[in-house]
C-alpha cells in the first residue's frame, strides 16, 4: 500500500522516547515528575491513533515492513507495521483508555515509593500493547504478546512485599507462558506450512487445506484462552487483582485480556477454514461467560467481582467470534474497554479513599451521597454492562444477541442467560456499594470523592461508555474499508426490535430481582453465606477448579523434584561418584596384598612359582 504514514512510526517512537527520557533523565533527577514525559507520549499516541483511524476510515490502510528481523537461507521474518480496520479500531480504544488510565494512575499512585517505576512499567505495557495491535506478522505479534505478559508479571507483582501479589504475579506469568506455548508452536507450524507469517497472506488460506490446519487453529485457541482468560486458563485473572487498580483497569479489563480475542479475530481466516473450530470457540465462550457470571455473583471483594465480570464478557466476545460475528466481537471489545475501565476506576476511587488495596463488600454501602461523581460513572457503566438502552453496552451486546438469535437453539438460550446473569451481578454490586448501608456493612469514615486528577478520567470514560455505542455505523464502516483483512466477515446484523426487547426485559427483570434480594430484610447476600458455609467455600474455590490447578502445579513440582533430586543427584551423579570410590577401594585392596609380611609374600612366591612350573610343564 502507500508508504508508511508518519503517525504509525510515532506510535512506536513517542513511547520509546518517553521511556528513555523517564528512565535516564527523570528517574535519577526528579522521580516524582517521571509522569510528565509519559503523559505527553500518551497524548501523542492517542492523537496518532485518531489520525490513523481517520486515514483508515477514508479507505487508506498501510502494511509496510520496517526492516528484516530474522533471516536464514530462503526464510526471513520482517518487522513491520500494519494499519487496517480491526487493528485501528481496537487501537483507538486502547490508546484513549490507556491514556486516561495513566493519567488516573498519577493520582492513584501519588504517595507510593515505587511511583516512577510504576509509571514507566505501565507505559512500557502501553507501548507493547500498541505494538501488538499494529504488528503485521505472527512472529512480531508473538514478540509483543510475550512483552505484554512480562509487563503484567512486573505490574501484578508491583507491591512485591505482599505475599499474595507475588503469588498472583507468578501464577499469571506461568499461566500466560503455558498459553504462549500454544502460540509459539502455532507460529512455528504456520511457518513450516506457509513459509511466511504475514497476516495479509491469510485471505486465500482456505484453498490450501493441510493436516496442520486444525492443530494450528486449536493452538491459537489455546493461546487466546490463556491470554483472554477463557475457561480452562481463566483462574489467573481474578488473582491478578492483587496489582494496583490502574493495572487491573488497564490490563485486566480494557487492553491486555482483549489481546486473545484480537488474536482470534486476526486469525479468523485460519479459524474459519477449520470445520468444527468456530463451534468449539462459541461453546468455550458461552461456558466461560455463564460460569464466570455465576461466580461474579457470589464474590465479596469489589475488584474480584469485576474481574469475574471481565472473564464473563471475554467469554461473550469469544462466543460472538465463535458464531462468526467478528465485527460484533470487535465492537463489544471496544465498548467493553470503556465501561469495564470505568467500573475499575470507580472501584479504584473507593479503594484509594479507604486507603486499602482490596475493599470487600461489607466495607462499603450508601456511598452515593459521599461519592456522587463515582456513583454516577459507576451507574452509567453498570447500565452499559447490563445492556440497558442508552449506553454503549446495549448496542454491542444486542448485536451479539442478534447473532445468537440467528444461530438459534442453544446459542439463543446461552445469549439470554448471559444477558440476565451479567445484569444480575452488576446490579448486586451497584446496590450493595452505593445504596443504603445494609446492617452488615460498615463503610469507612474516610470515604470521600476522589481528587480531580482521578475524577476527570473516570468522567471521560463514563462519557465514552455512554457515547461509543452511538458510533456503531462508523465503526462498522471502518472495519471493512482500509486493508481487506477479514474474509467476507458478515456486516453487523440489523437491530431486530424483538431481540432488543428480549434483552432489555431480561436486564430489567434481573435488576428488580437483585434489588429485592439485596435490599430485602435479612440481606440475602450474607444470609446464604451463614446458612451454607460449604456452598460459599465451593464458590470461593471456583467450584473446585482451583484445586485442579493446584494439583497440576503440585504434580509438576513433584516430577521436577523426582527428576532433579532423585534421578539426577542421588542416583546418576552418585553412581558416577561411586566409580571414584570404587577405584579407591580397589587400590586399597591392592595395597593390602603388599602387607609386608614375610609369610604372605612367600606364599605368593610359591603360587607364582607353581604356576610357572605348571605352565612350563604343560607347554
Amino acid at each position: 500500500m502507500s508508504s508508511l504514514p508518519p503517525a504509525a512510526l510515532l506510535l512506536f517512537l513517542a513511547p520509546l522516547a518517553a521511556l528513555a527520557a523517564a528512565f535516564f533523565i527523570m528517574r535519577p533527577w526528579k522521580p516524582q515528575w517521571t509522569h510528565v514525559p509519559i503523559l505527553i507520549s500518551c497524548g501523542v499516541v492517542t492523537a496518532a491513533a485518531a489520525y490513523l483511524a481517520a486515514m483508515v476510515y477514508t479507505g487508506r490502510g498501510a502494511d509496510v515492513t520496517l526492516y528484516t528481523w530474522m533471516f536464514a537461507g530462503k526464510w526471513s521474518v520482517p518487522f513491520g507495521v500494519r494499519i487496517d480496520g480491526i487493528g485501528v479500531s481496537v487501537l483507538c480504544m486502547v490508546a484513549l483508555v490507556g491514556a486516561l488510565i495513566q493519567l488516573y494512575s498519577v493520582g492513584y499512585m501519588k504517595g507510593d515509593p515505587g511511583f516512577s517505576r510504576f509509571i514507566m512499567l505501565l507505559h512500557l505495557f502501553y507501548l507493547s500493547m500498541i505494538g501488538l495491535l499494529v504488528s503485521n506478522n505472527y512472529v512480531q505479534f508473538y514478540l509483543f504478546w510475550e512483552l505484554v505478559g512480562a509487563c503484567s508479571y512486573f505490574l501484578i507483582g508491583f507491591w512485591s512485599h505482599k505475599e499474595a501479589a507475588r503469588k498472583a504475579a507468578m501464577q499469571a506469568f506461568l499461566t500466560l507462558r503455558l498459553a504462549d506455548f500454544g502460540l509459539m508452536l502455532a507460529v512455528l507450524l504456520i511457518i513450516v506450512q506457509f513459509r511466511d507469517t504475514h497476516f495479509a497472506l491469510f485471505h486465500a488460506v482456505r484453498f490450501f487445506p493441510s493436516m496442520y490446519h486444525p492443530l494450528i487453529g486449536l493452538l491459537i485457541l489455546w493461546a487466546a484462552a490463556g491470554k483472554s482468560a477463557l475457561f480452562p486458563l481463566y483462574f489467573w485473572l481474578p488473582d491478578a487483582m492483587e496489582g494496583p487498580t490502574p493495572v487491573s483497569a488497564l490490563m485486566h479489563a480494557a487492553t491486555m485480556v482483549t489481546a486473545g480475542i484480537f488474536l482470534l479475530v486476526r486469525s479468523w481466516p485460519l479459524i474459519s477454514a477449520v470445520p468444527g473450530l468456530p463451534g468449539l470457540i462459541a461453546v468455550v465462550g458461552a461456558v466461560t461467560a455463564i460460569f464466570a457470571a455465576v461466580l461474579a455473583f457470589t464474590q465479596t471483594d469489589l475488584k474480584r467481582i469485576l474481574a469475574y465480570s471481565t472473564v464473563s464478557h471475554l467469554g461473550l466476545m469469544a462466543f460472538a467470534v465463535g458464531l462468526g460475528q467478528i465485527t460484533a466481537a470487535v465492537f463489544h471489545l471496544v465498548t467493553h474497554g470503556f465501561f469495564k475501565a470505568t467500573l475499575f476506576l470507580c472501584a479504584g476511587n473507593i479503594a484509594h479513599a479507604s486507603g486499602k488495596s482490596a475493599v470487600s463488600v461489607s466495607e462499603v454501602g450508601g456511598l452515593w451521597r459521599r461519592m456522587p461523581l463515582t456513583f454516577a460513572a459507576f451507574a452509567i457503566a453498570a447500565f452499559s454492562l447490563a445492556g440497558i438502552w442508552p449506553c454503549a453496552g446495549f448496542f454491542s451486546k444486542d448485536a451479539i444477541l442478534d447473532a445468537a438469535f440467528e444461530r438459534g437453539g442453544w446459542a439463543w438460550a446461552a445469549g439470554l442467560a448471559i444477558a440476565a446473569a451479567s445484569a444480575a451481578y452488576i446490579f448486586r454490586m451497584l446496590f450493595l456499594t452505593f445504596f443504603g448501608p445494609r446492617p452488615e456493612q460498615s463503610p469507612a469514615r474516610s470515604l470521600h470523592e476522589a481528587p480531580p486528577v482521578m475524577a476527570v478520567p473516570v468522567a471521560f470514560l463514563a462519557l465514552g461508555a455512554l457515547a461509543v455505542g452511538w458510533a456503531r455505523e462508523d465503526l462498522v464502516a471502518m472495519l471493512f474499508c482500509g486493508r481487506q483483512s477479514a474474509v467476507a466477515a458478515p456486516s453487523l446484523p440489523e437491530l431486530a426490535p424483538k431481540v432488543a426487547a428480549a434483552g432489555l426485559g431480561l436486564a430489567a427483570l434481573a435488576a428488580g430481582v437483585v434489588f429485592a434480594l439485596t435490599m430485602g430484610a435479612p440481606s440475602w447476600d450474607w444470609h446464604w453465606r451463614r446458612r451454607r458455609p460449604g456452598l460459599a467455600a465451593a464458590f470461593a474455590g471456583d467450584l473446585g477448579w482451583r484445586r485442579v490447578v493446584a494439583g497440576f502445579v503440585a504434580r509438576t513440582l513433584r516430577v521436577a523434584d523426582v527428576v532433579g533430586r532423585v534421578w539426577d543427584h542421588e542416583t546418576w551423579d552418585a553412581a558416577i561418584e561411586k566409580t571414584a570410590t570404587a577405584c579407591r577401594a580397589l587400590s586399597r585392596g591392592g595395597s593390602a596384598m603388599a602387607s609386608g609380611g614375610l609369610s604372605e609374600s612367600l606364599w605368593w612366591l610359591m603360587i607364582g612359582a607353581a604356576a610357572l612350573l605348571a605352565w612350563a610343564g604343560l607347554r
Binding site: 595395597s591 593390602a592 603388599a594 609386608g596 609380611g597 614375610l598 609369610s599
Partner: protein, 98 residues
C-alpha cells in the same frame, strides 16, 4: 641311584620350603632356608656325578660356600632384629607394608 637322590632332595626341598612358610620365628625359617640350599647343592652334586668329571662338584662346593656365608649374614640380621628389642617374628616385622 640318581633317582633316589633326586626324590630325596625334592622331598627335602619341599620340607625346607614348608618350614620357611609355616614357622613364624625367624630362626626356624632360617633353618628351613639352609635346608633348601643344601638340598639344591645335593641335587647339583648328584647330577655332576653322572658326568663323571670333577668340575661338576666345583659348583656344588661353591654353592655350599656361598650358603655358609649367607647363613652367617642371616644370623647376624636375626640377632640385630632381636637386639633392637623386637620379637624375631614375621608378624611384627611389617615395615614393608604397602
Amino acid at each position: 641311584m640318581s633317582g633316589v637322590v633326586w626324590s630325596v632332595s625334592a622331598a627335602l626341598f619341599l620340607l625346607g620350603l614348608a618350614g620357611v612358610a609355616l614357622r613364624r620365628q625367624l630362626l626356624a625359617m632360617f633353618l628351613g632356608l639352609e635346608l633348601m640350599v643344601l638340598t639344591a647343592a645335593l641335587a647339583l652334586g648328584c647330577t655332576a656325578s653322572l658326568s663323571g668329571r670333577g668340575e661338576g662338584f666345583v659348583a656344588a662346593l661353591l654353592v655350599l660356600a656361598v650358603a655358609a656365608a649367607e647363613a652367617v649374614v642371616g644370623l647376624v640380621l636375626i640377632l640385630r632384629v632381636r637386639s633392637s628389642g623386637r620379637p624375631a617374628e614375621t608378624q611384627s616385622l611389617r615395615e614393608l607394608k604397602g
